[in-house]
Symmetry: C2
Subunit: 392 residues, 2 copies
């Protein structure tokens, strides 16, 4: 696995190549919250992530197809990965149940039936439908439909679930191949390894999916509430089984230190709501490269919520370097930033840090100006983009 | 007054010259909602409007002074006009009363006492304080503190109110001159003509303020609920009295046809929440230059909420031209735009119209993506900027 982490993988899509490891800003409903595509380009984003479930319900995949595909619809000309919607079907099923008193989600061998949490309308999604929707959207990287078991799940449940996920993956693959046959611009199809926290199930899931043969492999069912050590164990079990030359995607993660650890373990692709969601709450990531993160120093410099980490870095020849990176998160709503006229992060060249002070951003949050969310989001996403660059 | 409207006035400020007539986007709390200064520049905005009342309460004028002034604080290097806060003191007083059971506003000869509607904290604003705050903000155009009587107001009330406003204007002027004496970069000081809907009071207000001698004159107490004809009468009474060579500012107006009428009557400066507020509700202004706005045509083309107007235009030599401009407003939330893949306004080159379809914008509103507000705001402001250009 040590050797593994030195690879520099290039992922080729119809809308361009991307060098791994990379982070995908989330454009669930066809827009990254508060930001325009050119701003994503500016901070170095190469690929965004859309969601099959949300775009199917609103505005509909047929509409987006008529619009010329999701790229044109949202004015993003880089690659797009679409999640299959499996996760949302299950996580939002409960809301439909609460709102409309209907059974939120009904899972059968054929597919999954669920109600729209907005209006109670029934939908049925077999694995083939998920593929059709993603093809209509014009996605560059298509995910198979999976069942994502909650944490904790019993061994028996996790076993049955992964078996279903494998059968669905097989159907997805078959349907996908039929649909893209003779097509010039063939998207990539990724499978999702499940199996909860059980070693034999995770390994079995990986082996069965590899036997079907996909363009890439995601590890799902993490970041669903399991303890952090479980995530590391899952990577240790699964990654050595996955083919070297195919991209590996860890779904829904994570904090900067988790991403660093996962890249070191051999993961290529990430998506996470953390930078934008934290930003919208006024919590900002900043680099602390010159700070010795001793407890004493921390209290002296009055750093709040310190979450420092050491990011290993490699020099050009692949040998480890001694550079240390630390970061902290600050809550800009804190009183102490009221008259702090310095930039949020002097080492950052995002729109926020180039042109505005901590004091100004704090003011925007205090008076609920929507610009606050925009500036904080662009900064935190830039931090994540920088993080991936530093890891490279 | 016909002659008057042909003038091309240049207003000189410390942060640059502006050619009248012009429209000022509203940055009440130090930010135009959802938009960054560079976006305002792109659509042709030359000056923005801040609010003394709001910025005094949060984050405070002393803080902004420490930050290097409002220009630096909000990263806007063009001129800034600040409203004195008189209007807000009175209009928000009721909210403080409701929230904290305190008498919201107490008006005396000395000044006005009011409670912060957010926390009930008491403030006292004499006219001199309003000037001090605006000087701390570093405003380019400072407004005197006035009392803005509601509509309707009795003759007696309006008379007492305008007399107070005149005395306050005199105090503002005296205090201002003392403070800016020997200063190199002297801001402009504008007075506000009041007098409700009473001809003799409006004229008296104008004459008294002119006698004190200000750098410009605003007409206040309009757009407070009075019938539209009253506004036109007020302009007819007041404008002939105002000095030719000084800017005239009609506060808080208005719809495009009202702005056209007011420019024709001799007004130079405008501010209004309409473009941004309407935009945030999905109502968009679009040009209809090639549409014959007959009732029949309207129903044929299914134009909703038609509010067409004819905008007179002058050629270079000042003679009227035959160009006709029509506009309409559309509500993008309307079902009929669901699969409308054309731009909101094909003749517009704003960010929204250049890169996105009606269908996409409708989708963003439907799923409550904050980008919707941003794109709609930038478009409507661009429409207002174009409107001013077309008038010129």
């Amino acid at each position: 696995m040590k050797e593994e982490s030195k690879r520099r993988k290039i992922i080729k899509t119809t809308h361009g190549e991307i060098q791994a490891p990379f982070f995908m800003p989330i454009a669930t409903k066809g827009a990254v919250k508060n930001l325009l595509p050119q701003e994503l380009r500016q901070i170095g984003a190469k690929i965004v992530l859309g969601n099959t479930y949300h775009l199917w319900l609103r505005p509909g995949d047929e509409l987006i197809k008529k619009a010329g595909g999701l790229h044109k619809f949202m004015n993003w000309d880089g690659p797009i990965l679409t999640d299959s919607g499996g996760f949302q079907v299950f996580s939002l099923g409960a809301r439909a149940q609460k709102n409309f008193g209907k059974s939120g989600v009904r899972l059968t061998e054929k597919g999954v039936e669920f109600s729209d949490p907005e209006n109670g309308k029934k939908y049925f999604m077999p694995p083939e439908k998920s593929i059709d929707i993603q093809l209509n959207l014009g996605s560059d990287i298509i995910m198979v439909l999976d069942e994502c078991p909650p944490f904790p799940s019993s061994y028996e449940y996790a076993k049955k679930s992964l078996e279903l996920t494998t059968r669905w993956a097989e159907r997805c693959k078959k349907h996908f191949e039929k649909k893209v046959k003779n097509k010039k611009n063939r998207p990539l199809l990724f499978a999702i390894v499940q199996g909860s926290v059980y070693e034999d199930l995770r390994k079995r899931s990986a082996e069965e999916l590899i036997a079907i043969d996909f363009d890439g492999y995601a590890i799902g069912g993490v970041a669903v509430g399991e303890p952090r050590e479980e995530m590391h164990k899952i990577l240790e079990w699964v990654l050595p089984l996955l083919p070297e030359n195919k991209p590996r995607y860890l779904m829904g993660l994570g904090k900067p230190e988790e991403i660093v650890a996962a890249v070191n373990a051999g993961i290529d692709m990430f998506d996470c709501v953390i930078p934008t969601r934290e930003g919208r709450h006024g919590r900002l990531f900043i680099w602390k490269n010159n700070v010795i993160a001793s407890k004493a120093k921390q209290s002296l410099t009055n750093i709040d919520n310190l979450a420092s980490t050491r990011l290993p870095r490699r020099s050009e020849d692949g040998a480890p370097r001694n550079d240390k990176y630390f970061y902290e998160t600050i809550n800009i709503n804190n009183e102490k930033f009221k008259e702090d006229f310095s930039p949020v992060d002097a080492s950052c060249d995002c729109e926020l840090c180039k042109n505005y002070s901590r004091s100004y951003l704090r003011h925007l949050f205090a008076v609920k100006e929507p610009l606050a969310l925009r500036l904080a989001s662009v900064h935190n996403l830039k931090f994540y983009m920088d993080l991936m660059e530093k890891i490279k």
